[in-house]
């Protein structure tokens, strides 16, 4: 009878009556909502399904001594993770979370992204790279906003990087600078990336005139294989020498791209852009979801982070657009300013939004390939921004 009673006190149902029980139920409901949004509305399903399931798993209440959650790793004073019998003193979920906490998963995802990215539109029109740089204003103005409302500098930097519209970069930086905000930052970043088709069009129409939206751009030139092979190595050297804090992310991004463009490592490129990125996405999404425990996620700070996240995307969109208009003051061959909105590096969604808004004015104006240039440049720009913040704040 005692055994049964003891067991019953360890059940999730019993633990629901503890202090955080109701909050756990709310988080489980949010996880179920994410899964249904992913399946029914196709909102970023490759991320929201693992995150949603992770949220459900991570919020089942249990007795702490059972060592089951992502945060259950117990290091001895000597820095050893083993107990006296040589068994790991950590949960399975904490071993999976290791890849998030120590920044292992995001660079591996960047490897896969590099192996699937085609930089040729960027190579064919180099001035569009600057629009990817301009969009990073969203990162730094959001950092200021977060600092102004009371977050510390590390927290503000981790929140600001949401404006880079790059999930792996946001996770990479916040795991180091503000791990207690990682869950809210990751959810915010991925949610707003899925909402790019909702956030961007009104800003694009507000900041551009009809004549500007009708601008047609000449078709991009053909780019040689040699240019595509030389670019990843050269661009990495330039960017990493300027911002060494970005060398992990950019190194993997350009390594993946070199695997693709070298034409002699097709097998490795195939693995990077399919099997590897899929495996890491599963583990990363699940671990991030499991880390969003009620105590740390359902706070007023999370609400502020969601508000700042929306602001960062809006500022980034506006920054790219306005810089394109500024460039047009000096250019003979004008840029369609809508293309600037694609500097928000939600690849390829923001480029598709540019195409869609452009075609509302002129169905024969195809801006997608032009928009891909600032789109991929924005990935590089957001990694450099993260590298700058890492270089200044991680000491």
């Amino acid at each position: 009878m005692d055994i049964l009673t003891d067991f019953l006190t360890t059940t999730g149902f019993y633990q629901l009556f503890s202090a955080d029980g109701v909050l756990n139920l709310i988080m489980i409901a949010i996880g179920i909502t994410f899964i249904s949004l992913a399946i029914r509305k196709h909102y970023e399903p490759l991320l929201l399904v693992p995150i949603g399931m992770g949220m459900i798993v991570g919020n089942i209440p249990y007795v702490e001594s059972m060592t089951l959650g992502v945060y259950d790793d117990y290091w001895s004073e000597d820095g050893v993770l083993m107990d006296e019998e040589g068994m790991p003193n950590a949960s399975v979920l904490s071993f999976i979370y290791f890849g998030v906490k120590y920044g292992l998963f995001p660079p591996l995802i960047f490897l896969g992204i590099g192996a699937m990215t085609d930089f040729s539109t960027m190579l064919s029109n180099p001035k569009l790279v600057l629009l990817g740089a301009a969009a990073q204003i969203g990162v730094f103005l959001t950092l200021l906003g977060a600092l102004a409302i009371g977050f510390g500098i590390e927290e503000s930097a981790a929140i600001g990087i949401i404006g880079g519209a790059d999930g792996p970069t946001a996770i990479f930086l916040s795991a180091r600078l503000a791990p207690h905000l990682l869950g809210a930052i990751a959810i915010s970043a991925y949610s707003y990336m899925a909402l790019v088709p909702v956030i961007q069009p009104p800003i694009m129409k507000l900041l551009t005139s009809r004549e500007e939206r009708l601008i047609r751009m000449p078709p991009p030139r053909e780019v040689s294989k040699r240019e595509k092979m030389i670019f990843p190595v050269a661009a990495f050297l330039i960017c990493a020498m300027i911002a060494p804090g970005a060398l992990t992310l950019l190194g993997m991004l350009f390594f993946g791209n070199l695997l693709k463009e070298s034409l002699v490592t097709d097998r490795l490129a195939e693995t990077a852009r399919h099997a590897l990125i899929d495996i890491v996405t599963i583990l990363l999404g699940f671990a991030v979801g499991a880390s969003t425990q009620a105590k740390t996620f359902l706070t007023t700070d999370s609400l502020k982070i969601f508000a700042l996240g929306a602001l960062s995307f809006s500022i980034a969109t506006g920054g790219g657009l306005l810089f394109a208009k500024f460039m047009n003051l000096f250019l003979r061959e004008k840029i369609n300013p809508l293309v600037g909105a694609a500097g928000v590096s939600a690849v390829p969604d923001s480029a598709r939004v540019v195409q869609m808004v452009g075609q509302e004015e002129d169905p024969h104006n195809h801006l997608l390939m032009h928009a891909m240039a600032p789109n991929v440049a924005g990935v590089i720009g957001s990694a450099i921004a993260a590298g700058v913040l890492w270089g200044v704040l991680v000491k």
């Binding site: 190579l123 180099p126 600057l130 301009a134 730094f140 200021l144 590390e154 040699r226 661009a235 300027i242």
Partner: protein, 88 residues
């Protein structure tokens, strides 16, 4: 990894961090953009100065006039088959 020691920054310091950060991002991408602009000319110069040597080991197949080298027996057989189909 050990947690970072919390640093207290004022809004002014944050402002200068933001300005510096944007300048660095812009500088890096301007350099990338300039390199990309220069790259086609650079490669053309390299091709001029170091033209690719003809490959003596690889012998491309000799160019053929139309109809040369085709198996004549096969052509006759196909033509005969087509003719018998037309008659039928």
């Amino acid at each position: 990894m050990p947690p970072l020691p919390a640093q207290a920054w004022t809004l002014t310091e944050g402002f200068w961090l933001s300005v510096t950060g944007m300048l660095i991002v812009f500088s890096a991408l301007v350099l990338v953009s300039l390199f990309i602009s220069w790259l086609p000319r650079g490669l053309a110069w390299v091709n001029e100065v170091f033209p690719e040597a003809p490959d003596h080991h690889h012998h491309p197949p000799p160019s053929r006039k139309a109809g040369e080298g085709i198996d004549e027996e096969l052509v006759v057989a196909i033509a005969a088959a087509l003719n018998s189909r037309r008659r039928n």
